[in-house]
């Protein structure tokens, strides 16, 4: 390995990186490697990984950094948009899905009356009125039955009372 104070080509740099990660480099070589990573314009998967691993994002990478920053901003923007849609949109949509909008439909003698709230509600009102009248009629019938029972009880009481008085008179 060339241990002079200069790395002359990309291949040499990659070999030095491999030796660095294998723990075979001297302090001088590590210094050389750092300088090369910081100052050279060579790029490859190995070199880029070494730069990331060793924390080098040097000036010569500025253009790429700008592009990468733009890409990162775009990705962050898209991710944020998706996150907002997920957190706000889906609950709102699911609320809408789980809460169907009011729907009024009537089929009268084979004809359909759809989405006419006023007409359908008018028909339903008639149904409810009929039910209400029947309920009142039933309430009245129950009241009548109770009155009949009460009258019968009173009649029986009076009869028993008269019978008791007659027995007393006989005695």
């Amino acid at each position: 390995m060339n241990t002079s104070h200069h790395i002359s080509n990309q291949n040499e740099l990659e070999q030095l990186i491999e030796r660095y990660f294998d723990g075979e480099t001297s302090i001088q070589e590590e210094q050389l490697l750092r300088e090369a990573l910081a100052n050279s314009q060579w790029t490859s998967e190995t070199i880029d990984e070494a730069r990331f691993a060793m924390g080098y994002f040097t000036a010569h990478r500025q253009e790429r950094k700008e592009a990468s920053k733009f890409n990162r901003i775009s990705i962050i923007g898209i991710a944020a948009t998706i996150a907002i849609l997920l957190t706000v949109g889906i609950p709102a949509l699911s609320h809408r899905w789980s809460t169907p909008q009011p729907e009024y439909i009537a089929y009268v003698n084979g004809k359909v009356i759809a989405n006419n709230q006023e007409a359908v509600m008018s028909l339903i009102e008639q149904d409810l009125n009929n039910m209400g009248m029947a309920t009142h009629e039933m309430d009245n019938a129950i009241a009548d039955d109770m009155n009949d029972i009460s009258d019968a009880t009173q009649y029986m009481t009076n009869e028993l009372s008269s019978l008791g008085e007659a027995i007393e008179l006989d005695d």
């Binding site: 009011p102 089929y107 003698n109 028909l123 149904d127």
Partner: protein, 149 residues
């Protein structure tokens, strides 16, 4: 993709019982058979606060055909047998008026059935049987108030 398809299929199957309001005999009457019947009327209101109270479903039927009236009464009788509360008046051995509070649905919603046979009315009888099914969070007293107002 296959896994997603299976999940969607399972979810779709899971929603079917909820949509079908399973467990009620009268549910079979609401299969659309009366929509084109010239001797029947069917009213459907679905959605939040149907009829301005806490109801999600209002579904009613009115029929004039004798055999249909008898069918409705028989199914109401079956569902009425499972009611947790009921008010029923019989006339001539038939249901004249019935109000049934059914066990809550799987969605924990209250369910009610009203039945009225106006053939048996003392005042102004007419050839009409009405069935009303209601489902929602509304309480029995709210339902009673709805028909008494």
């Amino acid at each position: 993709m296959k896994r997603i398809s299976i999940i969607i299929a399972v979810m779709a199957l899971a929603t079917l019982p909820a949509l079908a309001q399973s467990g009620l005999h009268i549910n079979s009457l609401f299969d659309g058979r009366y929509k084109k019947n010239p001797y029947a009327a069917e009213y459907i209101v679905t959605g939040p606060a149907a009829l301005d109270i806490d109801l999600e479903i209002y579904h009613s039927l009115k029929v004039t055909q004798k055999e249909q009236q008898e069918l409705i009464e028989s199914l109401v009788n079956k569902d009425g047998a499972t009611a947790i509360d009921k008010e029923v008046q019989l006339r001539n051995g038939k249901i004249y008026y019935g109000f049934y509070v059914l066990p809550p649905s799987k969605k924990k919603l209250n369910r009610y059935i009203f039945f009225l046979n106006q053939n048996l009315a003392k005042k102004s009888p007419k050839n009409m049987v009405t069935l009303i099914y209601m489902e929602g969070k509304a309480t029995p007293s709210q339902i009673k108030h709805l028909i008494r107002k």
